[in-house]
Amino acid sequence: MSVEVTRELADVTILDLEGNSVILRSLWEESDALLVFVRHYG
């Protein structure tokens, strides 16, 4: 599999534990990234 991450995904903004916005693409700018999406907390 060798496709680019969609812009739709790359442009999504998520929140850190302080409520600060983080754009998803920043997570793989400097290195490979393993993103684990959980169903829910708990």
């Binding site: 060798s2 680019e4 991450v5 393993l34 999406f37």
Partner: protein, 145 residues
């Protein structure tokens, strides 16, 4: 998954966990079960939709969910209060530096988690190259003898 995740981390892979509750819920979860990785949250579920992860009752009302739950419980895991969207399934993305999608797994139901250990192996092309280089080295040594 934590064991495998540490191996990724040792290889310089940035590991993050993304949930879908509120910031307060994420913070509470992190306090009760601290993770060795950054925890983020996406209450809007936009990232889940963009990654095309499944959402719906079907991800919860399947016989397999019971099996997954029993396996998890046998390993000591216990589900506490649901914080976030219980209908939203998760998944895993491995994204190369710069944005290349190298792996995508969309969970089919609650408790459906991928085995990530095969991702720790070098890609097939690298394995072939390393084998070739070993072959050429052995030939060279035989020639020099």
């Amino acid at each position: 998954m934590r064991d495998v995740a540490h191996q990724f981390k040792s290889r310089g892979v940035n590991i993050v966990v993304i949930g879908n509750g509120t910031v307060e819920q994420a913070r509470a979860f992190h306090s009760s079960q601290p993770l060795p990785f950054p925890l983020y949250t996406d209450p809007s579920l936009r990232s889940y939709r963009a990654a095309e992860f499944h959402r719906g009752v079907g991800g919860v009302l399947k016989p397999k969910v019971v099996l997954h739950a029993m396996k998890a419980m046998s390993q000591g895991f216990r589900q506490t209060k649901t914080l976030g969207d219980p209908m939203q399934n998760g998944g895993v993305l491995l994204i190369g530096k710069g944005g290349q999608l190298r792996y995508r797994y969309a969970s089919q139901e609650a408790g459906d988690h991928p085995d990530l250990t095969p991702l720790l192996s070098p890609p097939q092309s690298e394995r072939s190259e390393s084998s070739a280089s070993k072959t050429s080295e052995s030939s060279a040594s035989k020639t020099s003898e």
